[in-house]
Protein backbone atom coordinates (compact mmCIF):
# COMPACT_ATOMS: atom_id res chain seq x y z
CA UNK A 1 0.00 0.00 0.00
CA UNK A 2 2.85 2.39 0.68
CA UNK A 3 4.61 3.83 -2.36
CA UNK A 4 7.81 2.01 -3.27
CA UNK A 5 11.05 3.68 -2.40
CA UNK A 6 12.24 4.26 -5.96
CA UNK A 7 10.48 2.51 -8.77
CA UNK A 8 7.36 0.47 -9.10
CA UNK A 9 7.74 -2.90 -10.69
CA UNK A 10 6.11 -1.66 -13.89
CA UNK A 11 8.34 1.40 -14.00
CA UNK A 12 11.42 -0.71 -13.53
CA UNK A 13 10.34 -2.96 -16.35
CA UNK A 14 9.66 0.01 -18.59
CA UNK A 15 13.06 1.43 -17.72
CA UNK A 16 14.83 -1.76 -18.71
CA UNK A 17 12.92 -1.76 -21.93
CA UNK A 18 13.97 1.79 -22.67
CA UNK A 19 17.58 1.05 -21.87
CA UNK A 20 17.54 -1.90 -24.23
CA UNK A 21 15.93 0.16 -26.97
CA UNK A 22 18.45 2.96 -26.59
CA UNK A 23 21.27 0.47 -26.74
CA UNK A 24 19.78 -1.17 -29.81
CA UNK A 25 19.46 2.18 -31.56
CA UNK A 26 23.14 2.80 -30.96
CA UNK A 27 24.34 -0.62 -32.03
CA UNK A 28 22.21 -0.67 -35.17
CA UNK A 29 23.39 2.82 -36.07
CA UNK A 30 27.01 1.81 -35.71
CA UNK A 31 26.98 -1.66 -37.18
CA UNK A 32 23.84 -1.97 -39.25
CA UNK A 33 21.04 -4.46 -38.79
CA UNK A 34 22.85 -7.57 -39.95
CA UNK A 35 26.07 -6.45 -38.29
CA UNK A 36 24.65 -5.64 -34.88
CA UNK A 37 24.16 -8.52 -32.48
CA UNK A 38 21.51 -8.88 -29.83
CA UNK A 39 24.25 -9.97 -27.51
CA UNK A 40 26.04 -6.64 -27.76
CA UNK A 41 22.77 -4.74 -27.51
CA UNK A 42 21.98 -6.40 -24.23
CA UNK A 43 25.52 -6.05 -22.91
CA UNK A 44 25.74 -2.35 -23.71
CA UNK A 45 22.50 -1.75 -21.84
CA UNK A 46 23.97 -3.59 -18.87
CA UNK A 47 22.00 -6.80 -19.32
CA UNK A 48 22.35 -10.21 -20.90
CA UNK A 49 20.47 -11.76 -23.80
CA UNK A 50 18.20 -13.62 -21.44
CA UNK A 51 16.84 -10.33 -20.14
CA UNK A 52 16.48 -8.99 -23.64
CA UNK A 53 14.39 -11.91 -24.75
CA UNK A 54 12.03 -11.45 -21.85
CA UNK A 55 11.24 -7.99 -23.20
CA UNK A 56 11.29 -8.55 -26.95
CA UNK A 57 10.43 -11.47 -29.13
CA UNK A 58 13.70 -11.06 -30.99
CA UNK A 59 15.83 -8.85 -33.17
CA UNK A 60 13.04 -8.05 -35.57
CA UNK A 61 10.70 -6.68 -32.95
CA UNK A 62 13.51 -4.63 -31.47
CA UNK A 63 14.14 -3.05 -34.81
CA UNK A 64 10.50 -2.51 -35.71
CA UNK A 65 9.88 -0.71 -32.44
CA UNK A 66 12.77 1.62 -33.11
CA UNK A 67 11.62 2.03 -36.69
CA UNK A 68 8.26 3.32 -35.50
CA UNK A 69 9.97 5.79 -33.21
CA UNK A 70 12.15 7.05 -36.03
CA UNK A 71 9.31 7.53 -38.45
CA UNK A 72 7.28 9.33 -35.82
CA UNK A 73 10.28 11.52 -35.02
CA UNK A 74 10.80 12.41 -38.67
CA UNK A 75 7.15 13.30 -39.09
CA UNK A 76 7.23 15.48 -35.98
CA UNK A 77 10.33 17.24 -37.22
CA UNK A 78 8.78 17.84 -40.61
CA UNK A 79 5.63 19.28 -39.14
CA UNK A 80 7.60 21.51 -36.86
CA UNK A 81 9.59 22.92 -39.74
CA UNK A 82 6.50 23.45 -41.83
CA UNK A 83 4.73 25.19 -38.97
CA UNK A 84 7.66 27.29 -37.98
CA UNK A 85 8.46 28.50 -41.46
CA UNK A 86 4.91 29.18 -42.58
CA UNK A 87 4.76 30.24 -46.19
CA UNK A 88 8.45 31.06 -46.43
CA UNK A 89 9.49 28.27 -48.74
CA UNK A 90 13.15 29.14 -48.84
CA UNK A 91 13.47 29.03 -45.08
CA UNK A 92 11.70 25.67 -44.97
CA UNK A 93 13.91 24.18 -47.67
CA UNK A 94 17.02 25.35 -45.87
CA UNK A 95 15.71 23.90 -42.61
CA UNK A 96 15.13 20.55 -44.31
CA UNK A 97 18.65 20.63 -45.71
CA UNK A 98 19.98 21.16 -42.21
CA UNK A 99 17.74 18.45 -40.85
CA UNK A 100 19.19 15.94 -43.28
CA UNK A 101 22.75 16.64 -42.25
CA UNK A 102 21.87 16.71 -38.57
CA UNK A 103 20.32 13.27 -38.79
CA UNK A 104 23.14 11.86 -40.92
CA UNK A 105 25.86 13.21 -38.65
CA UNK A 106 24.30 12.31 -35.33
CA UNK A 107 25.77 9.40 -33.46
CA UNK A 108 22.49 7.56 -33.57
CA UNK A 109 21.84 8.51 -37.20
CA UNK A 110 20.20 5.71 -39.08
CA UNK A 111 21.77 6.28 -42.46
CA UNK A 112 21.09 3.34 -44.69
CA UNK A 113 19.39 1.31 -42.02
CA UNK A 114 15.91 1.59 -43.43
CA UNK A 115 17.14 0.32 -46.79
CA UNK A 116 19.13 -2.45 -45.22
CA UNK A 117 16.13 -3.60 -43.26
CA UNK A 118 13.85 -3.32 -46.26
CA UNK A 119 16.23 -5.44 -48.28
CA UNK A 120 16.28 -7.95 -45.44
CA UNK A 121 12.49 -7.91 -45.18
CA UNK A 122 12.09 -8.59 -48.90
CA UNK A 123 12.39 -12.31 -48.31
CA UNK A 124 10.16 -12.33 -45.23
CA UNK A 125 6.57 -11.74 -46.20
CA UNK A 126 5.03 -10.85 -42.82
CA UNK A 127 7.86 -8.51 -41.96
CA UNK A 128 7.64 -6.82 -45.33
CA UNK A 129 3.94 -6.27 -44.89
CA UNK A 130 4.51 -4.54 -41.57
CA UNK A 131 7.22 -2.26 -42.85
CA UNK A 132 5.36 -1.45 -46.04
CA UNK A 133 2.28 -0.47 -44.10
CA UNK A 134 4.31 1.91 -41.94
CA UNK A 135 6.07 3.40 -44.94
CA UNK A 136 2.86 4.02 -46.82
CA UNK A 137 1.31 5.74 -43.87
CA UNK A 138 4.37 7.96 -43.54
CA UNK A 139 4.33 8.71 -47.25
CA UNK A 140 0.69 9.74 -47.04
CA UNK A 141 1.39 11.98 -44.07
CA UNK A 142 3.97 13.78 -46.17
CA UNK A 143 1.69 13.79 -49.19
CA UNK A 144 -0.96 15.56 -47.13
CA UNK A 145 1.50 18.28 -46.23
CA UNK A 146 2.32 18.97 -49.87
CA UNK A 147 -1.07 18.25 -51.38
CA UNK A 148 -1.94 21.90 -51.80
CA UNK A 149 1.04 22.25 -54.13
CA UNK A 150 0.06 19.28 -56.27
CA UNK A 151 -2.62 19.06 -58.93
CA UNK A 152 -3.99 15.85 -57.45
CA UNK A 153 -3.70 13.48 -54.54
CA UNK A 154 -1.98 10.91 -56.72
CA UNK A 155 0.54 13.52 -57.73
CA UNK A 156 1.14 14.46 -54.11
CA UNK A 157 1.80 10.81 -53.31
CA UNK A 158 4.23 10.53 -56.19
CA UNK A 159 6.13 13.59 -55.09
CA UNK A 160 6.21 12.32 -51.52
CA UNK A 161 7.61 9.01 -52.72
CA UNK A 162 10.36 10.81 -54.58
CA UNK A 163 11.19 12.98 -51.58
CA UNK A 164 11.49 9.97 -49.28
CA UNK A 165 13.71 8.14 -51.76
CA UNK A 166 15.85 11.23 -52.09
CA UNK A 167 16.11 11.68 -48.33
CA UNK A 168 17.15 8.10 -47.73
CA UNK A 169 19.64 8.09 -50.57
CA UNK A 170 21.25 11.33 -49.48
CA UNK A 171 21.37 10.24 -45.86
CA UNK A 172 23.46 7.26 -46.90
CA UNK A 173 25.70 9.23 -49.22
CA UNK A 174 26.25 11.87 -46.55
CA UNK A 175 27.34 9.21 -44.11
CA UNK A 176 29.81 7.81 -46.61
CA UNK A 177 31.21 11.15 -47.63
CA UNK A 178 29.86 14.20 -45.77
CA UNK A 179 31.59 16.66 -48.06
CA UNK A 180 29.70 15.38 -51.08
CA UNK A 181 26.31 16.17 -49.54
CA UNK A 182 26.11 19.68 -48.08
CA UNK A 183 22.66 20.77 -46.88
CA UNK A 184 22.05 22.61 -50.12
CA UNK A 185 21.77 19.34 -52.02
CA UNK A 186 18.57 18.38 -50.30
CA UNK A 187 17.32 21.95 -50.03
CA UNK A 188 17.85 22.59 -53.72
CA UNK A 189 16.30 19.32 -54.80
CA UNK A 190 13.25 19.99 -52.64
CA UNK A 191 12.84 23.43 -54.14
CA UNK A 192 12.82 21.95 -57.62
CA UNK A 193 10.63 18.97 -56.81
CA UNK A 194 8.05 21.20 -55.16
CA UNK A 195 8.15 24.03 -57.67
CA UNK A 196 4.66 24.98 -58.76
CA UNK A 197 3.99 24.01 -62.32
CA UNK A 198 3.91 27.34 -64.14
CA UNK A 199 3.10 26.12 -67.61
Amino acid sequence: MSPPLRLTRAAAKARTRELLLASAAQVFAEQGYAGGSVDEIAARAGYTIGALYSHFSGKDELFLTLFDDRVAGHLRAIEEIVEHCGVDDDAAFAAFGDYLTTVADSRSGWSGLESEFLRYALTRAELLAKVTERRESARDAIARLISRRAPSWADAQITATAIIALFEGLLMQRRVNPASVPPVVFAGALRRLLAQATS
Copy 2:
Protein backbone atom coordinates in the same frame (compact mmCIF):
# COMPACT_ATOMS: atom_id res chain seq x y z
CA MET B 1 50.68 -26.74 -80.95
CA SER B 2 47.37 -28.01 -82.26
CA PRO B 3 44.29 -26.13 -81.13
CA PRO B 4 42.50 -27.77 -78.21
CA LEU B 5 39.30 -29.59 -78.94
CA ARG B 6 37.01 -27.25 -77.06
CA LEU B 7 38.52 -24.78 -74.67
CA THR B 8 41.98 -23.65 -73.84
CA ARG B 9 42.93 -23.77 -70.23
CA ALA B 10 42.68 -20.03 -69.94
CA ALA B 11 39.27 -19.98 -71.56
CA ALA B 12 38.01 -22.70 -69.25
CA LYS B 13 39.23 -20.73 -66.29
CA ALA B 14 37.58 -17.58 -67.56
CA ARG B 15 34.37 -19.49 -68.10
CA THR B 16 34.32 -20.76 -64.54
CA ARG B 17 34.91 -17.25 -63.35
CA GLU B 18 31.99 -15.95 -65.37
CA LEU B 19 29.72 -18.72 -64.14
CA LEU B 20 30.61 -17.89 -60.56
CA LEU B 21 30.01 -14.19 -61.14
CA ALA B 22 26.64 -14.81 -62.77
CA SER B 23 25.65 -17.02 -59.88
CA ALA B 24 26.79 -14.43 -57.37
CA ALA B 25 24.77 -11.72 -59.11
CA GLN B 26 21.68 -13.87 -58.79
CA VAL B 27 22.19 -14.86 -55.19
CA PHE B 28 22.99 -11.32 -54.07
CA ALA B 29 19.95 -10.02 -55.95
CA GLU B 30 17.70 -12.52 -54.25
CA GLN B 31 19.10 -12.56 -50.74
CA GLY B 32 21.16 -9.44 -50.33
CA TYR B 33 24.82 -9.20 -49.48
CA ALA B 34 24.66 -10.33 -45.88
CA GLY B 35 22.00 -12.90 -46.68
CA GLY B 36 23.75 -14.52 -49.61
CA SER B 37 26.35 -17.16 -48.83
CA VAL B 38 29.43 -18.00 -50.87
CA ASP B 39 28.49 -21.61 -50.42
CA GLU B 40 25.25 -21.18 -52.33
CA ILE B 41 26.93 -19.01 -54.94
CA ALA B 42 29.40 -21.77 -55.71
CA ALA B 43 26.77 -24.49 -55.62
CA ARG B 44 24.43 -22.68 -57.99
CA ALA B 45 27.24 -22.25 -60.47
CA GLY B 46 27.88 -25.96 -60.25
CA TYR B 47 31.01 -25.76 -58.08
CA THR B 48 32.04 -25.91 -54.45
CA ILE B 49 33.51 -23.21 -52.25
CA GLY B 50 36.96 -24.57 -52.80
CA ALA B 51 36.74 -23.73 -56.49
CA LEU B 52 35.31 -20.32 -55.71
CA TYR B 53 38.18 -19.41 -53.45
CA SER B 54 40.68 -20.32 -56.13
CA HIS B 55 39.13 -17.58 -58.29
CA PHE B 56 38.27 -14.89 -55.79
CA SER B 57 39.82 -13.77 -52.55
CA GLY B 58 36.42 -13.84 -50.88
CA LYS B 59 32.93 -12.45 -50.74
CA ASP B 60 34.05 -8.83 -50.90
CA GLU B 61 35.98 -9.22 -54.12
CA LEU B 62 33.10 -11.09 -55.67
CA PHE B 63 30.79 -8.25 -54.87
CA LEU B 64 33.15 -5.48 -55.91
CA THR B 65 33.68 -7.09 -59.29
CA LEU B 66 29.96 -7.24 -59.85
CA PHE B 67 29.60 -3.71 -58.55
CA ASP B 68 31.98 -2.44 -61.22
CA ASP B 69 30.00 -4.24 -63.90
CA ARG B 70 26.77 -2.75 -62.66
CA VAL B 71 28.07 0.79 -62.56
CA ALA B 72 29.53 0.43 -66.04
CA GLY B 73 26.23 -0.99 -67.25
CA HIS B 74 24.27 1.90 -65.79
CA LEU B 75 26.59 4.43 -67.38
CA ARG B 76 26.33 2.73 -70.76
CA ALA B 77 22.54 2.68 -70.52
CA ILE B 78 22.46 6.35 -69.59
CA GLU B 79 24.66 7.34 -72.48
CA GLU B 80 22.60 5.30 -74.88
CA ILE B 81 19.41 7.00 -73.78
CA VAL B 82 20.99 10.43 -73.99
CA GLU B 83 22.34 9.72 -77.45
CA HIS B 84 19.20 8.14 -78.74
CA CYS B 85 16.89 10.87 -77.54
CA GLY B 86 19.04 13.81 -78.54
CA VAL B 87 17.50 17.08 -77.44
CA ASP B 88 14.06 15.64 -76.83
CA ASP B 89 14.01 15.93 -73.07
CA ASP B 90 10.60 14.41 -72.55
CA ALA B 91 11.54 11.27 -74.43
CA ALA B 92 14.72 10.95 -72.43
CA PHE B 93 12.94 11.39 -69.09
CA ALA B 94 10.38 8.78 -70.07
CA ALA B 95 13.15 6.40 -71.11
CA PHE B 96 14.86 6.86 -67.75
CA GLY B 97 11.58 6.17 -66.00
CA ASP B 98 11.30 2.91 -67.90
CA TYR B 99 14.91 2.08 -67.22
CA LEU B 100 14.34 2.34 -63.48
CA THR B 101 11.44 -0.06 -63.53
CA THR B 102 13.22 -2.45 -65.87
CA VAL B 103 16.18 -2.66 -63.52
CA ALA B 104 14.02 -2.96 -60.42
CA ASP B 105 11.84 -5.68 -61.88
CA SER B 106 14.55 -7.77 -63.48
CA ARG B 107 15.43 -11.02 -61.79
CA SER B 108 18.97 -9.85 -61.28
CA GLY B 109 17.92 -6.37 -60.22
CA TRP B 110 20.12 -5.02 -57.51
CA SER B 111 17.55 -2.97 -55.63
CA GLY B 112 18.95 -1.92 -52.32
CA LEU B 113 22.17 -3.83 -52.72
CA GLU B 114 24.38 -0.82 -53.22
CA SER B 115 23.05 0.72 -50.02
CA GLU B 116 23.38 -2.49 -48.13
CA PHE B 117 26.96 -2.87 -49.21
CA LEU B 118 27.73 0.77 -48.46
CA ARG B 119 26.32 0.37 -44.99
CA TYR B 120 28.46 -2.74 -44.57
CA ALA B 121 31.53 -0.95 -45.89
CA LEU B 122 31.07 1.92 -43.42
CA THR B 123 32.96 0.01 -40.78
CA ARG B 124 35.68 -1.25 -43.15
CA ALA B 125 37.96 1.58 -44.15
CA GLU B 126 39.74 0.05 -47.15
CA LEU B 127 36.50 -1.28 -48.60
CA LEU B 128 34.80 2.05 -48.10
CA ALA B 129 37.60 3.82 -49.92
CA LYS B 130 37.24 1.54 -52.92
CA VAL B 131 33.49 1.92 -53.17
CA THR B 132 33.61 5.65 -52.61
CA GLU B 133 36.13 6.08 -55.38
CA ARG B 134 33.90 4.18 -57.81
CA ARG B 135 30.83 6.12 -56.78
CA GLU B 136 32.50 9.48 -57.18
CA SER B 137 33.74 8.59 -60.61
CA ALA B 138 30.25 7.51 -61.61
CA ARG B 139 28.77 10.68 -60.17
CA ASP B 140 31.20 12.77 -62.19
CA ALA B 141 30.36 10.88 -65.36
CA ILE B 142 26.73 11.80 -64.82
CA ALA B 143 27.64 15.35 -63.86
CA ARG B 144 29.45 15.74 -67.17
CA LEU B 145 26.32 14.71 -69.03
CA ILE B 146 24.24 17.36 -67.33
CA SER B 147 26.85 20.05 -66.96
CA ARG B 148 25.51 22.12 -69.85
CA ARG B 149 22.25 22.48 -67.93
CA ALA B 150 23.95 23.62 -64.75
CA PRO B 151 25.39 27.03 -63.93
CA SER B 152 28.61 25.48 -62.64
CA TRP B 153 30.50 22.23 -62.31
CA ALA B 154 29.81 22.13 -58.59
CA ASP B 155 26.13 22.51 -59.31
CA ALA B 156 26.25 19.69 -61.84
CA GLN B 157 27.87 17.46 -59.23
CA ILE B 158 25.21 18.34 -56.70
CA THR B 159 22.44 17.55 -59.13
CA ALA B 160 24.11 14.28 -60.08
CA THR B 161 24.36 13.36 -56.41
CA ALA B 162 20.66 13.99 -55.97
CA ILE B 163 19.78 11.97 -59.06
CA ILE B 164 21.78 8.99 -57.87
CA ALA B 165 20.23 9.13 -54.43
CA LEU B 166 16.81 9.33 -56.00
CA PHE B 167 17.50 6.44 -58.33
CA GLU B 168 18.71 4.17 -55.57
CA GLY B 169 15.87 5.09 -53.24
CA LEU B 170 13.22 4.53 -55.88
CA LEU B 171 14.80 1.27 -56.97
CA MET B 172 14.36 -0.05 -53.46
CA GLN B 173 10.85 1.26 -53.03
CA ARG B 174 9.84 -0.18 -56.40
CA ARG B 175 11.09 -3.58 -55.33
CA VAL B 176 9.11 -3.40 -52.12
CA ASN B 177 5.92 -2.19 -53.75
CA PRO B 178 5.98 -1.85 -57.55
CA ALA B 179 2.61 -0.13 -57.70
CA SER B 180 3.89 2.76 -55.61
CA VAL B 181 6.65 3.61 -58.09
CA PRO B 182 5.42 3.80 -61.68
CA PRO B 183 7.96 5.02 -64.25
CA VAL B 184 6.53 8.50 -64.08
CA VAL B 185 7.87 9.01 -60.56
CA PHE B 186 11.47 9.00 -61.74
CA ALA B 187 10.65 10.67 -65.05
CA GLY B 188 8.79 13.50 -63.36
CA ALA B 189 11.42 14.03 -60.70
CA LEU B 190 14.15 14.15 -63.33
CA ARG B 191 12.23 16.72 -65.30
CA ARG B 192 11.95 18.93 -62.24
CA LEU B 193 15.49 18.40 -61.02
CA LEU B 194 16.89 19.26 -64.44
CA ALA B 195 14.59 22.14 -65.24
CA GLN B 196 16.52 25.17 -66.41
CA ALA B 197 16.42 27.91 -63.88
CA THR B 198 14.13 30.50 -65.46
CA SER B 199 14.22 33.15 -62.80
